[in-house]
């Protein structure tokens, strides 16, 4: 039988604030355990939460970027459960009146082309702390630095139809949230986490099958892997006449397997009720409109604009806009006067390599524009420019022309110098010269290469060929 896979994702992103959701502690990642804590996020007796206005602003931004309706009134609710990483014995979240509902995200499905995923809701909540099992032998330690970190939970409709589609949606969602400045969306640092719900049903039917929840994936690739595994597991179950049980599964990246958590922990009744410590969150329509107006250009709009304004191919535009930093850098290079197509090639080449390695742009955009200008004027060759770029990346306070000169990479187009190198090459390769004269003209490329080599790349290739042509012909006439 053919099976259809139905996937919905719950994504938690850490809102990019300096301080926590309900107190003034820092949200820095990687500080020594229990150093960013206070009476509020430790849940000490008598302490009370006060909402972080910046967290609300970022969550609203995120909601607007995902096309959601932001509600003028939303309500914080307590989600009650006991766990050692949860200081108050409840998590402050939102339940029946979330911040925003009803958005959608367009993305490119690898199987179905351009698709839309519905966004059911976006709500704000606080994170729990962390349990450390490896600090003290036989004991579990609690680190509450993360407790109270502001999160937005983004719940999608079950609109995804394959693990690869889930990954593509996540990539797009991440792009949008990073563009909007809502979150760093780093899975390694835990600022983006994914819980996936998956079920299967016979192709062509519409009733949803029993779903399972898969957790503990630490990369988008692993989300795809885990969902592949879970899909196969469900299909095998059903095809062997058994049925899928509603369970929560943990993905183990090492074994590539999913394992159910103990079912007892799943019988939670969270007993949500409105948090009496926090009045309903009321946002004015004017303020929401202000946030909408302040939204930066989002990936799709930027892609379209780059294609239109700079005549970039759809593929190039997609590569360049994949990272908001890359896109901004590209635009700065073009703004500084570089030819867009050349700038695009640089950004997709050297710049992206350095960015992927270091996460930064060591060569200021104006310098790269200057360097591109030097290539166009024939001052340096394209090959030499790459070396100049590396030099600039080491110390960005040099200008490209000086760096090229210091490295001896300024091209030589002086006839005398070129003729000298050409004659040396021809003298060193009498056999090839003879073969060329016998009509093997494709050896021209070989001679050019040799001249470039002998000149240590300094010879202007455009000037080399006419000199070669001339010297080879002259000798034959003799």
């Amino acid at each position: 039988m053919a099976w259809e896979t139905v996937i919905g994702l719950e994504v938690h992103v850490q809102l990019r604030t300096r301080t926590k959701m309900f107190c003034g502690n820092r949200t820095t990642f990687g500080d020594p355990p229990n150093t960013n804590v206070c009476p509020v996020c430790l849940g000490l007796p008598g302490a009370l939460p006060v909402p972080n206005a910046e967290a609300i602003r970022l969550a609203v931004r995120g909601a607007l970027a995902l096309g959601c309706t932001v509600h003028e009134t939303s309500v914080f609710a307590r989600k009650n459960y006991f766990y050692p990483d949860l200081p108050k014995g409840y998590q402050i979240s939102q339940f029946d009146r979330p911040l925003a509902t009803g958005g959608s995200v367009s993305f490119d499905s690898p199987e179905r082309g351009r698709m839309q995923v519905g966004i059911t809701r976006l709500h704000v909540e606080e994170d729990a702390g962390k349990l450390l099992h490896d600090r003290f032998p036989g004991k579990t330690a609690v680190d509450l630095n993360r407790a109270g970190t502001p999160l937005a939970e983004i719940v999608s409709e079950p609109d995804l139809r394959s693990p690869a589609e889930a990954r593509a949606y996540l990539t797009t969602l991440r792009q949008i949230l990073v563009y909007a400045g809502v979150s760093e969306c780093s899975m390694e640092q835990g600022s983006l986490r994914v819980d996936a719900n998956l079920s299967i049903r016979p192709a062509g039917t519409s009733r949803l099958g029993t779903k399972t929840e898969v957790k503990n994936m630490n990369s988008f690739a692993n989300v795809e892997r885990a969902l592949e595994v879970e899909r196969a597991r469900q299909i095998a179950l059903v095809e062997s006449g058994r049925s899928v049980e509603q369970v929560t599964l943990l993905f183990n990246a090492g074994t590539g397997q999913v394992k159910p958590t103990r079912s007892k922990e799943e019988s939670h009744d969270y007993r949500y009720f409105p948090d009496p410590d926090l009045p309903p969150l009321v946002l004015t329509p004017a303020w929401i409109a202000e946030q909408r107006a302040a939204l930066p250009e989002l990936p799709e709009a930027k892609r379209a604009r780059l294609e239109a304004a700079h005549a970039l191919s759809a593929k190039d535009a997609r590569v360049i806009t994949a990272e908001v930093g890359l896109a901004h850098y590209f635009e700065s290079v073009v703004d500084a006067g570089a030819d867009p197509k050349t700038a695009a090639n640089w950004v997709m080449g050297e710049v992206m390599t350095t960015y992927n390695e270091s996460g930064s742009f060591p060569v200021p955009a104006a310098r790269l524009a200057e360097l591109i200008g030097l290539v166009r004027e024939g001052v340096v060759s394209h090959q030499a420019a790459k070396r100049v770029y590396s030099e600039l990346a080491q110390s960005s306070d040099q200008d490209p022309r000086t760096a090229a000169a210091r490295l001896g990479l300024v091209q030589v187009s002086d006839q005398g110098a070129l003729t000298g190198w050409v004659d040396e090459v021809l003298a060193a390769h009498p056999d090839e010269v003879a073969r060329f004269r016998d009509g093997e003209t494709k050896l021209m490329a070989f001679f050019v290469g040799q001249v470039m080599k002998r000149s240590k790349g300094k010879a202007d290739p455009k000037g080399v060929q006419p000199v070669l042509q001339e010297r080879l012909t002259v000798a034959a006439d003799r």
Binding site: P39, L42, G43, L44, P45, G46, A47, L48, P49, V50, P51, R78, N80, F82, P84, P87, K88, G89, Y90, T140, V142, D269, R271, Y272, F273, D275, P276, D277, L278, P279
Partner: protein
């Protein structure tokens, strides 16, 4: 009098009052330090050298904060409650931390893990609760004022039993930051005073919005009201539902006298109706435990307080044992009730319904105040102070001791108890209720009655 001298005299009175068991933490050393601190302050502070006792569910850095519970035995807060900071800044001296029903759950101060508080006039009786320790200390003349807390009448009711002034402000008037939470939508730091003026001065000092409490209301702090010559122009509503046929005879007489006094002072008295107040106690005993069940979840033995690792040695067992042994019976009962009413399938029938009834109760008050009533007058309690042990086996009978004080808590209204006479030697309180943020008129009217009535007069 200097802070140093006040410290010595207060210390002597605290030592003498020891048999009441009203105090959980005090030391002469800390009192002397408080005396020295306020003596070093510039002259003219509003509460200069006034010793004030605090219910032991208000956190302080200097003393432990136990909430009358084994689970917090020895716990010392790393920060002071906002009200403590404000009192200290105004020159008040923190005199002692007072005994209470565990986590403020009770109406007699018999549910303290550290023993019951005795009524200052009759040790066989209860002082009321849950702020019984604070009430008893003020009644015994140890301190002129004390802070208590109200969730459903825990200051007005003991004030009535002990014959002192007890004022609950509007919800949102005083910061709850540092008041250990019980029922967060109801909790109010409240004030006991020997006189209306003492209570008013303390209340105005601690009132005002607080950036650390999102439920405080952004409006100017309450001022100490100007004295009124009489009650002319004032219309006082008397809600008929608060005068049932079986009302204690002494209470009934004392209230009748108060009504006559109001009329004698030029006030108009009008019979009114608050029909939904009858549902206040059952409503309260759904909402307060629901909030309490969540508020008390943090006492899990993981981060602070007494940890007891259970027989199995795992985390579930740690929770069970810490909480099972750390909480007393009444607290466990309310956690169970609260957990039940929020459970899947019961939420709508209990919690949601209770919130709807709460809105109806509040609406009754709004309608009455909108009809030209300035203040309401009711008995504070159905009877004078009862005997210790009389109601401990019957939780519902205990809960009904708060029948006249619960409705205002649910409505978030300011209300107070004023001693207006005695019945067979036991104090009787009259309750005055004002519209939201009407504390100034409430206290001004109470002051006129205080000036013209003898709280020690036998009414029978």
């Amino acid at each position: 009098m200097s802070g140093a001298a006040t410290a010595r005299e207060t210390g002597a009175r605290l030592a003498k009052a020891q048999p009441l068991n009203a105090v959980l933490h005090w030391s002469q050393e800390l009192l002397d330090a408080e005396g020295a601190r306020v003596d070093a302050m510039p002259a003219g502070s509003s509460l200069a050298a006034m010793p004030v006792a605090l219910k032991d569910n208000i956190v302080t850095v200097e003393q432990p904060t136990t909430c009358g519970s084994r689970i917090l035995e020895g716990y010392v807060s790393p920060y002071n409650a906002t009200v403590v900071e404000r009192l200290r800044a105004a020159g008040a001296m923190i005199a002692a931390k007072t005994n209470l029903d565990e986590f403020a759950m009770g109406s007699s101060t018999e549910h303290s893990a550290f023993g019951r508080v005795k009524h200052p006039l009759d040790p066989s009786r209860v002082p009321g609760g849950s702020s019984g320790g604070s009430a008893a200390l003020v009644a015994a003349g140890v301190v002129p004022a004390a802070l208590g807390s109200e969730t459903g009448g825990s200051v007005r009711q003991p004030a009535s039993f002990c014959g002192v002034v007890g004022v609950k402000p509007s919800y949102g008037r005083v910061s709850r930051y540092g008041l250990v939470a019980f029922g967060s939508s109801l909790d109010c730091v409240s004030v006991f005073g020997r006189t209306v003026d003492d209570a008013a001065r303390v209340l105005s000092t601690i009132s005002g919005s607080d950036p650390l409490d999102a439920t405080t209301v952004d409006r100017a702090p309450m001022r100490v009201p100007k004295a009124l010559p009489d009650l002319r122009g004032l219309t006082v509503g008397v809600p008929k539902e608060y005068f049932p046929a079986d009302l204690d005879a002494g209470v009934s007489t004392a209230l009748r006298r108060t009504t006559e006094q109001i009329q004698g002072l030029g006030g108009e008295v009008r019979l009114v109706s608050l029909p939904n107040s009858a549902y206040a106690v059952p409503t309260y005993y759904i909402i307060a435990p629901a909030e309490a069940a969540a508020n008390l979840a943090r006492y899990d033995g993981v981060r602070y307080g007494k940890r007891r690792i259970g027989p199995e040695g795992d985390i579930r067992s740690l929770y069970r044992t810490t909480r099972g042994e750390g909480f007393g019976e009444e607290v466990r009962r309310r956690i169970l009730v609260g957990t039940y009413v929020l459970s899947a399938g019961y939420y709508d029938a209990y919690y949601k319904k209770a919130q709807q009834v709460r809105a109806l109760i509040a609406d009754d008050f709004r309608k009455v105040f909108d009809s030209g009533i300035d203040l309401l007058l009711t008995p504070t309690t159905p009877t004078p102070a009862f005997k210790a042990g009389e109601k401990t086996e019957d939780p519902v009978a205990m809960y009904l001791a708060d029948v006249f004080v619960c409705p205002m808590s649910l409505a978030g209204l300011p209300a107070m108890s004023l001693p207006v006479g005695r019945s067979e030697g036991l104090p009787i309180g009259a309750q005055l209720v004002a519209p939201h943020f009407g504390e100034e008129l409430l206290l001004a009217a109470a002051q006129v009655l205080e000036r013209t009535m003898d709280p020690l007069a036998e009414v029978r």
